[in-house]
C-alpha cells in the first residue's frame, strides 16, 4: 500500500482541489481547525468553493482567509459571528449562506458519512430553518427532513495519528472533526504527531484509519478566541 503520509499540506492536497468543489471542515470556532490545510487551499487559489463548517473562522485566520481571498461561494454553518468580512460579503449579496442548527449540522455530516441521505429531526420545526423542508409526523409530533452532507474533500485536525491514519483528538478540539473525517470522498488529516506503530491503544482510537486517505504533520498556531482566566487566590 502506498503511504498515506505526506510531507506537508501542499503535498497532501496536491491533485485534490478544483473550482466549485465542496469542502467539509472540522473545528469549532478556532479550536481544532485544520489551519494548515486551510492555508494551503488559500495558496492554491481554487474558487467557487462550498464550505461546510460550524463556523467561518475570524478575520485573517482559519476560514476567514478563504473568505478574504473570495474563494468561497457558499457557506453552510451554524454560527458566523466574529467575522466582519463574512458579514460584509453576505449582506452585500456576494456570498450564499445556509444556516444549519449546530446539532443538525453535526448530524447531517455524520449521516452523510454513514451513507444516510436524510433524517428527521425536531430541531427547527416552525422556524425559518424548516422552510421548504418536508414535514413528517411521528407519534403526533412534527419533524423536518434534513439531508446528509458529503463533501468532495474533508479536512480535519487531530492530535495524534499512526501512519495508517488512525486518529486521536484532544479535549474539545475533537468537536466536528470525527464526523467531518467520515464525510469526505477524500479526507486529509493534519496532526500534531505521527506516532510509532502500536503506540495508539486500539481501544481508544476516535477515528479509524479507513476514513483517512492522506495525512501530514502540521505546525499549529492554535489561536485562542476568548482568553478567559481566573485569579489565583493569595497564598
Amino acid at each position: 500500500m502506498a503511504s498515506k503520509v505526506y510531507p506537508n499540506a501542499d503535498a497532501a492536497l496536491d491533485g485534490l482541489l478544483f473550482d466549485g468543489m465542496t469542502i467539509v471542515s472540522g473545528g469549532f470556532g478556532l479550536c481544532g481547525i485544520p489551519e494548515n490545510s486551510i492555508a494551503a487551499i488559500c495558496r492554491a487559489g481554487v474558487k467557487g468553493l462550498t464550505v461546510v463548517s460550524n463556523n467561518a473562522g475570524v478575520d485573517g485566520f482559519g476560514l476567514g482567509l478563504l473568505l478574504e481571498a473570495r474563494q468561497v461561494k457558499k457557506m453552510t454553518a451554524s454560527y458566523v459571528g466574529e467575522n466582519r468580512e463574512f458579514e460584509r460579503q453576505y449582506l452585500a449579496g456576494e456570498l450564499e449562506l445556509e444556516f444549519a442548527p449546530q446539532g443538525t449540522l453535526a448530524e447531517r455530516i455524520r449521516a452523510g458519512g454513514a451513507g444516510i441521505p436524510g433524517f428527521y429531526t425536531r430541531t427547527g420545526v416552525g422556524t425559518l430553518v424548516a422552510e421548504g423542508k418536508p414535514v413528517m409526523e411521528f407519534d403526533g409530533e412534527p419533524f423536518i427532513l434534513e439531508r446528509g452532507i458529503v463533501g468532495d474533500l474533508a479536512i480535519v485536525k487531530a492530535w495524534k495519528a499512526d501512519r495508517f491514519g488512525n486518529l486521536l483528538f484532544r479535549k474539545t478540539a475533537r468537536n466536528f472533526n470525527p464526523m467531518a473525517a467520515t464525510a469526505g470522498k477524500i479526507t486529509v488529516a493534519e496532526v500534531e504527531e505521527i506516532v510509532a506503530d502500536g503506540e495508539l491503544d486500539p481501544d481508544c482510537i476516535h477515528t479509524p484509519s479507513v476514513y483517512v486517505q492522506r495525512l501530514f504533520v502540521g505546525s499549529f498556531e492554535k489561536r485562542i478566541e476568548q482568553r478567559t482566566v481566573r485569579k489565583r487566590e493569595a497564598a
Partner: protein, 213 residues
Amino acid sequence: MAWTRDEMAVRAARELKDGFYVNLGIGMPTLVANHAGDLDITLQSENGMLGMGPFPFEGEEDADLVNAGKQTVTELPRTAYFSSADSFAMIRGGHMNLSILGAMEVAGNGDLANWMVPGKMVKGMGGAMDLVAGTPRIVVMMEHCDKAGNPKFVPVCTLPLTGRNVVDVIITDLAVFERADRKGAPFRLIEMAPGVTLDEVRRRTTARFETCG
C-alpha cells in the same frame, strides 16, 4: 429596585436540582454556575464536553479546551469529551435536565426568539434551536425590556423563532413567570424583584399573564 444580573443568576440557580445535567447559554446564563452552592451539577458545553470546570489560572490556558462561547475553561475529575454529533445526541435526545438561555423575545405561548434580527444581526443560531427542541425544561434569563424600552415578553414574537412553545420559566430583572406545562397553560407571575409593583410589570409587559391569588 430591579434585580442585577447577578441577582437574576441567583434566582435562576434556584431552578437547579441536585444531580442535574445542565447547559448554560452564552452570556448572562453562564453566571448561574457561580451560584449552584452545594448542589452537584454537571455542566454540558455543546462543543463536546460534560463536566465543565472554571476558567483556568493565568498561564494555564489550553487552546484545545474551550466552551461553547470559545472561552478557555478547565476540566474536572468527572469530565468527558465527545464529538459534536454525540453532544447533540444527548441534547436532542432529551438527556439534559435543564437549559438556561438568553432571549430577545418570548411570547405568551412559550415561543422563543433569540438568534436573529433580519437585516441587522447575521450570526446564526449555533446550538440554540437544538437545545430548545430537545431539553425538557427551558429557563430564559433576559432584561424585561430592550434598550429602547420595548417589552420583550410579548403576545407574539416579531423576530424569527428559535423554537415554538419551548419556554417554561422567564426570569427578568423585574419578575419571574412560570407556566405549568407546554399544553396551553398560561404564564403566571410568581415573583417580583423587591419594590417592583404589579402595575409596573403590567406596564412593561405586553404578553398576557396570570397573577397569583
